[in-house]
Amino acid sequence: MHKLLTESPGEKMILLGNEAIARGAIEAGVAFATTYPGTPSSEISLNLFEMSQESDIYFEYSTNEKVALEVAAGAANSGVRTLCMMKHVGLNVAADPLMTLAYVGVKGGMVILTADDPFMFSSQNEQDNRYYGKLSGLSVLEPSSVQEAKDMMVYAFDLSERLQEPVLFRTTTRVNHSTAVVTLGTIRKRIIKGDFKKDPMNYVTVPAVSRKLHVKLLKNMAAAQEIAEKCEYNFIRGSGAWGIICNGVSYNYAADAVKDLNITDKVSILRIGFSYPMPKAVITAFLKGKEKILVIEEGEPYMEEAVKAFAQEQGFTLPINGKSNELFSRLYEFDPAMVRQQIASYFAVPYTPPLLPDISDVPELPQRPPNLCAGCSHRATFYAVKKAAREQGTEIICPTDIGCYTLGFLPPLSVGDFLICMGSSVSTSCGFSKVTDKKVVSFIGDSTFFHSGITGLINAVFNNHNFTLVILDNGTTAMTGHQPNPGVDMGDFSRSGYGRVSIEEVVKGIGVSHITVIKPYRVRKSIEAIKEALNYQGVSVIISQEMCTLFAKSLKKLKPRAFHVSDKCKNHRDCIKEIACPAFYLEGEKVKIDPVACAGCTVCAQICPENAIVPLKSEK
């Protein structure tokens, strides 16, 4: 049995934050879950995907976050408890349904999890999604710890059902990817079937209906405000005259700092866990009689601005600081020493920060950036495109997209010139090709193509743009941990009962007239096919098909046959300079191939001018 389905309340388990969140949803009786995978949220859905195989929970990887939220909205409005998970930028994709779903509301409890990523460990921006609460009028909950993430999930479902509104559950990477001891609770009974009661005057959002629904939303927001004022997740620790207001992981750093600085008797900490609507009465009461206030929050001064507004209404004049005066930055994530230092200096507490090691004599260390895997087919495709363009003397602009292949922008491949969000490769190509005289070749992965590349391609055909789109079809959503997508064979995931959408048929159906499917490990053939596509006037599509090497290895579909560099090598080093596969290393001045890393893709062997790279003879 999946460990998160364990029926033993009181048992202690070491859980990753994302496992704890999934467990919290299970304890809350979640019956229906949807997602589009994205770090740092991916393990929540991975666990639900696994559990859906051995329970009556319905789980799906939806095509994108907008779809995931709409699928969930249907289920929730039929009375079923529903969880919809995504990374922070995913909520931008789902923002359209979100804003009006807030008007319509839900019948069964619905929690929308948004995993924010301060410092951008694996994201393109570090937007602060608490503002989505303010924008939509939906309640926002924010846990500080792994245990609380589990407990709060149960509360979130109850809150949603009470308000008849979705609830936003906002985490940050350091909650999702922290691990701690969690005490399990009771699993509530799941209700897996619901019923939809027709009520068009409340469900069909034509203007006349929406005008009424907006009034209802404001009433629900007022009700949420009342609940937030009494919510146990907004709590106060200590009773000193110095006030700290904090949320999420900032609370952990503040609590540790107050203890480390030995000022527990001087400080009161107000931890905000229910952060929209902000608990005005709680905050106002907290401010009363305080000497000064420090607001500690990663991201934007979301709480700070609210606290200042509440103080102004009351005519309080005590100092309130946080991001203002640049005590804390809006950039990146916080850490315990930074928070300790700021608390000490703000409240004038004597404190000697730890002496950092003097690293001025440490030589510059070689960087270790993430790299496309040994044998990755993306590397082969990038090489072929570069080579095709070079052989024709064509200068190319390469908009890229979100996935492992984004790493192609690093030297020596250096393929990847522009990226803003999922699907942007295709649509930005339209703009680039229209106003420049250069050839545009853009890159998108299979999952990202389904997510939001298709609409851009339709646009390109309709508006008669001129560029080449390379669809890198590696049969999985690799970057986030090998999730399925609509193009994959679900047999590879040991699942049945799914449909399958052919990328080639979709592209044909859209009306692209120049389509070529290539096998990127066949280097010369691929180069020739790409040249033809580059010369085509109009929209041309190359579908580069080869299963993700890591995934193929894990499925035991790939039994690597390692290659080695023979004596014929004259040290041209085209292999290293052109494709830079991480299986290569230098021993003195000689190029070597690590036989454990080599996936046997043969690309280097095909481009070696001396044909010096040959299969390693089996030692048996």
């Binding site: 440490v362 960087q367 830079a580």
Partner: protein
């Protein structure tokens, strides 16, 4: 309970996530509060993986620069890169078998001299325990047991509030059954190696 802070740095694929999991499970078994934080994501793409593990009474799950009591590096240049986490009282344990990053092969960096690397670490910390953990893992029966060799070594320092018995018990029960014997042998070899250093 005193707070003890451990940083583990490794290259993706070296098994540091399992190492930290074992230590966390051992803490649970010993009723020691434990919290940790890991940066996942690009680990499988050959990047650096860092785990922070905080034992004892604390809420934070990450460790600031200069605040680790114990720093364990699975790869020598990564140990040196992570030296900012240490202070003059920190004990450092490092594997000495290098995994040069690809940037070295393409001429975009120079791998540090191992002797100089050890001198630098020694000069900035209270103690360096350094040995070839890959050789010991092979001796134990599987090169992938480097993580358990280093778990053995860090247990020997007695800096963490975990007994050797509780860690071994966890290795026995929480790592794959087929590898349990190799892992235990690797643990013992690492433990002894740390005694000698």
């Amino acid at each position: 309970m005193d707070t003890k802070r451990l940083i583990i740095v490794a290259v993706g694929g070296q098994g540091n996530l399992l190492a930290s999991r074992v230590l966390a499970e051992a803490a649970l078994l010993s009723d020691v509060p434990v919290r940790m934080s890991e940066i996942h994501g690009m680990a499988q793409r050959g990047g650096v993986v860092e785990s922070a593990i905080v034992f004892g009474d604390a809420e934070s799950t990450i460790i600031s620069d200069g605040e680790a009591d114990l720093l364990v590096g699975f790869e020598p240049s990564e140990t040196l890169r992570a030296i900012r986490k240490a202070n003059s009282k920190t004990v450092v344990i490092s594997n000495l078998s290098p995994l040069p990053p690809f940037t070295v092969a393409i001429g975009r960096g120079v791998y540090p001299d191992l002797k100089q690397l050890q001198e630098l670490i020694r000069s900035k910390t209270s103690k360096l325990i350094a040995f070839d953990a890959v050789a010991l893992a092979k001796q134990a029966g599987n090169v992938l047991a480097v993580n358990m060799v280093l778990v053995g070594a860090l247990t020997q320092t007695r800096i963490l509030p975990l007994s050797a018995e509780s860690v071994k018990e966890t290795v026995r029960t929480k790592t794959k059954k087929a590898f349990a014997d190799i892992n235990l042998k690797a643990f013992e070899l690492g433990f002894s190696a740390a005694e000698c250093c």
